[in-house]
Amino acid sequence: MAQQKEIPPTLPAKLMTGAEIFVRSLIEEGVEIVFGYPGGAVIGIYDALHDISDIKHILTRHEQGAVHAAEGYAKASGKPGVALVTSGPGATNTVTGIADAYMDSVPIVVFTGQVALKLIGNDAFQEADIVGITRPITKHNYLVRDVRELASTIKEAFYVATTGRPGPVLVDLPKDVMASKTHFDYPKKVSMRSYNPHVEGHMKQLEKAAALIAKSKRPVLYVGGGAILSNASDDLKSFARKTRIPVTTTLHGLGSYPENDELSMGMLGMHGTWYSNTAVHYCDLLIAVGARFDDRVTGNTEAFAAEAKKIHIDIDPTAISKNVKVDVPIVGDVKKVLQKLSQMVEPLDTTDWLQTIKQWKAEHPLRYRNGKLIRMQYVIQKIGEITKGDAVIISDVGQHQMWAAQFFKYIHPRTHITSGGLGTMGFSLPAAMGASFARKDFPIISVSGDGGIQMNIQEMATCVEYKVPVKIFILNNGYLGMVRQWQELFWRKRYSHVAMYSPDFVKLADAYGCPGYRAVNTDEVEDVILKALAVKDGPVIVEFKVVPEDNVYPMIPAGQTWNEIIDVPDEERSAVNGEEIESEELITLTKG
């Protein structure tokens, strides 16, 4: 982040405008790419950006797209993502993306233009109190009132966004501040007396945790996004393999532990595997690692792993004992804590426990019946088989998101990117666009439903303009599938406003100027995936016409307990307009 670059000779050496300082500060921070959208209040900043070759600017088609792109870039790279937008509507359009980044702890810095200081509060043209609006959804935010504070504020913003529990930081830049001049001196270090995140776990707590682990017979590691944020995958692997403790991950934990390893149990929670939820239910020790006991994981918190002792490792003290009381909290960075803890524990004899889990896996695998009409599960599974896990999957929100979590075996960290906490439809396409600037080694695959893709479809133009090699897979069932599933199961099949018309996505691809393919039968799936993967010089759209009425299982209904778990029904069915379709082959998949 702090890598130094040569100062472009075009900039004046003495007094600089705020706009020039802004650009120079980003270069000092090592920012390579900015997703943005110009406007009146930031026209000076855009002027300063005009001749800069160190920073690539991507002109998105909507400010929400810019923020999700910054998130995708941050999630795929581990570096902070940057968005730059104008005041008023430009700023308010970033709100959903910022809230999304806040819920999912994504390090991004959003710069918004603001009207001149003396106009603030006057209902000036394109004025919005974005600092007030985003206060509850940012880790911190700033209004820069003096150009002399600009450089240090930017330094602080990046520091706060990327340290501790990461999160979005917003910096509001009034137009006149950016036009006034001062000397540029970028601070080398940040010192904030009020902010010192605690990263080392407390030794006493570590000892207590080690003692609990030594005594346990049926331990489970429950791993969340914190393991990926702290780049702790290798440490997690050595810890789990040394202690022989089986691993289940949250939606955001996917990829932190390889799902082709025998200790892996895949995802837990509402749509987690039957065996991971069952293992958590019967475990005697639950070790939460960078996870926050979210309601989609726990269901009824009273009954969640009720018999188990609980250890909770998290860098955010407020995450501890927020939803579920734990026996041994350890505040600290997951990587550092796991490294230390690893040295303090001996291998456990979990042979019987692992044997039991193995049996559960055999009896209750993830499964579906494959027929002529395409099942979403099959598409995801095929992507996994073809890429062998060497791909970045960026899912949207809904049924396809759960199947993308279930039917792809994640092996590497930062290969599964999704909107988990806020559940933002429209996330996938712009986030995939951002991710593709961060990672060139793996294909970038955006997976959306027909609903979500239409929420930020405008970013197609951005992808085409900048030749972004993103594979846009649209799983089109003609419904807002997850809502329809709930209406089917809990609202007497009253399908209220969930059927949805979509354009011809292949023609749309053509209109935007990129290739488009479609598969309507199962036997066409593999072919179109291969065709899409062969496209290297820009985006490609693939539309899969899938079974309209299909349900995600297993399922623990919201707020309920393990006892209410619905496994994949034996008469696993998929209906088209209410008519049963012929199902042929039973396909199963087991994590680990």
């Binding site: 600092v131 007030g132 206060r135 509850p136 880790k139 911190h140 935010n141 209004l143 009132r145 706060v160 904030m192 007396r193 009020s194 902010y195 955010d316 003290p317 407020t318 501890i320 004992s321 927020k322 009381k325």
Partner: protein, 182 residues
Amino acid sequence: MTTMAIISEKETTAADVQSRKHTISLLVENKFGAFNRIAGLFSAKGYNIDSLTVGPTEDDSVSRMTIVTRGDDGVIEQIIKQLNKLIDTLKVTDLTYESFVERDLALIKVQTTAETRPEIMQIVEIFRAKIIDISPKTATIEAVGSQQKIDAIIKMLKPFVIKEMARTGRVALKREFQGEVD
């Protein structure tokens, strides 16, 4: 930052009775928006505020807030953690389990007549309060003390009809000697 205060008088529910009143003292950076962050935290998370005061300290760059809130142990633990999490927060102390001094100030404008004035003056004297403004029909009383003392004088003055009242809410500091003095 100017001095600000929030005091709310709410009906007590059964849940409130179980939960204890806590006095939390916090030092925050005296920066634009710091007060809003803290007030916003309480509303966003649904925590109760009985009173909240803000004012300058001996250090210009730091403000002290005194928050009187209520909740069970879990809620109070979360409040303290959440306050600590705010970037502008320097120090959070729950004074409840310590020995501390506290003051609340009230200005109370009471309706008076020639008949009631002596009795009101007597009450003022008992509570070591002061009359700071007087007119033929009213007297404005300044009362300083613990919250209970202020509550008590208000109760005593109520029958005379309180026309207007302003109250600062509790400010508090930890006692230097926590019990033992050698």
